[in-house]
């Protein structure tokens, strides 16, 4: 989308329905997740998803800063999604741009929909997401990493939030777009699912989809999110199955 005047469009789908990297339309990129890699944070997680590398850390519940944001009846969640200057092809100037701020907002709202914030009035739960290497789908990768970091920090939640992007590539609905597909495809729909309720806490979309395609995209995305969710649970178990180490609170076993 949005590649006005770009010169060369690669062939995104082969005759036998394989994508540019050989995946089927409903296939995820490879993913590895690590819970708790950081020592200073209260909770942390690292996710390598295709060619994305994303680190997330959680601090809190802790004192609210700046103070005027404090809420007397619940904790506030402050997510900050940030891209390292070297994470993209053309160097990104350090600091928050408008895109980062919007993504921070929708991710914050996704977590506010599942975290039991009323248990920690007058505090802040700070969630930091750092994209170290980017290749499409960073907000979903960031959300997954942050979800694991929240669990690692023992923040009580209704459920782990899972996320994936669905898109439209060469006229077909496809799961988990990579950079070329995102750049030259016809639509992108990132979504975040609360698996136990089956409800979406993040939905964005840009491009062109008709009614049927949209329905199809939502179904494929839901399926993808559930796959990711299983991996997330495995990653948490991998950390906490060490004997003598307590299970973190708030994450369904």
């Amino acid at each position: 989308m949005g590649n006005v005047g770009a010169k060369e469009i690669p062939q995104l789908l082969s005759a036998d329905g394989r994508r540019i990297d050989g995946r089927r339309l409903d296939e995820l990129r490879s993913i590895t997740m690590k819970v708790g890699p950081l020592t200073r944070a209260d909770g942390s997680a690292f996710v390598e998803w295709g060619e994305n590398k994303v680190m997330a850390a959680v601090y809190g519940p802790r004192e609210v800063h700046p103070r005027h944001l404090m809420q007397t009846s619940k904790a506030i969640i402050q997510c900050r999604y940030n891209m390292a200057a070297f994470s993209v092809d053309e160097r990104k100037r350090p600091g928050q741009d408008r895109r980062s701020q919007e993504i921070s907002k929708v991710i914050t709202e996704a977590f506010e929909s599942v975290v039991f914030t009323e248990e920690f009035p007058k505090t802040s739960i700070d969630v930091y997401i750092e994209v170290l290497q980017a290749n499409a789908g960073t907000r979903c990768a960031g959300l997954v990493a942050a979800s694991l970091a929240l669990a690692d920090a023992g923040i009580p939640m209704a459920d782990l939030v899972s996320a994936v992007a669905v898109g439209k590539v060469a006229g077909r609905i496809a799961l988990d777009l990579k950079k070329e597909e995102d750049n030259f495809g016809e639509a992108d729909l990132p979504m975040a699912l609360v698996p136990q309720s089956g409800r979406l806490v993040l939905i964005q979309m840009e491009g062109h989809m008709n009614r049927d395609e949209l329905r199809q995209a939502l179904d494929l995305g839901t399926k993808g999110c559930r796959e990711i969710y299983e991996r997330m649970r495995e990653a948490l178990r991998a950390k906490y199955d060490t004997p003598g180490r307590a299970e973190p609170a708030g994450v369904p076993a």
């Binding site: 005047g5 329905r215 839901t222």
Partner: protein
């Protein structure tokens, strides 16, 4: 009674009403407030529209200037959308740099305009790699009585639809000519109140809402943009139903903007 407590009572009341299919201002669940679009309101702009959606009032001005294409799109003009949630329009806004809410508004409106290919940007190119039109879409919210997104998007579409390219003033052509608008995306916003999803929320309904969903459709039957906002969640089925409603309302609002 504290403000927090009274807000909670109002929230409960609004949700109770919605359960019964009713709303504070007497509308039905799927009713829109009266919409008006006044193009050409600001003479200093190359295009403008004043939009009322009920008491919500938004003014959009379009200005075109000669600039330089971006290096990666040498054959295209530039489109920039900016929304200011000025403190004049609501007791909840403060002067200063744009807050996340204003940034989201700008980006959501921009996304619908851009994704629908409302303006064919290649037509804004004057000399490839050197000279092009930069089209600024500036949205100024004047009275925030709820559903700013839809009012702002209508104002932007209205201002573009009736805009003139100042080609003579910039010495690029002998005469000014109307800006060519290719598509007519319209955004429709809904909020969840309990298990009902109401259209065109008021400020109070947005405050009470448990999730907001905006769907932009074009005149060809495509969804071109979506955005879920605020705390809350929607099932995929609810999304699909809401999209249908957005198509229906979108067609009607498109006609208001185009004056047909």
């Amino acid at each position: 009674m504290s403000e927090v407590v009274s807000a909670e009572i109002q929230t409960t009341h609004i949700i109770d009403l919605a359960r019964a299919g009713r709303r504070l201002d007497g509308r039905g669940i799927d009713d829109w407030r009266p919409v008006s679009v006044t193009p050409g309101y600001v003479k200093s702009a190359d295009g403008s529209a004043l939009v009322h959606v009920g008491d919500t009032t938004v003014l959009c001005g379009v200005k075109l200037e000669i600039g330089k294409p971006f290096p990666d799109t040498p054959n295209a003009g530039v489109l920039t959308t900016n929304a200011e949630l000025i403190a004049l329009s609501s007791p909840t806004f403060e002067p200063g740099p744009p807050q996340p809410e204003a940034i989201e508004l700008s980006r959501v409106v921009d996304r619908s305009i851009r994704a629908a290919e409302t303006i064919d940007l290649t037509k804004l190119c004057v000399t490839p790699s050197e000279k092009c039109w930069t089209c600024y879409v500036d949205i100024h919210c004047l009275d925030h009585a709820g559903n700013l997104i839809d009012a702002a998007q209508l104002a932007a579409l209205g201002a573009l639809t009736h805009a003139t390219v100042p080609a003579q003033r910039f010495g690029v052509a002998e005469h000014d000519y109307p800006l060519d608008v290719s598509h007519f995306p319209v955004e429709c916003t809904f909020v969840r109140l309990g298990d009902r999803i109401v259209a065109d929320p008021t400020f109070e309904e947005e405050t009470a809402g448990q999730g907001r969903l905006t769907v932009a459709t074009d005149e060809l039957g495509n969804v071109v943009a979506m955005q879920k906002g605020k705390i809350g969640a929607f099932s995929p089925d609810e999304v699909v139903e809401t999209v249908e409603r957005a198509f229906r309302h979108g067609d009607r609002l498109r006609n208001v903007v185009r004056g047909t």
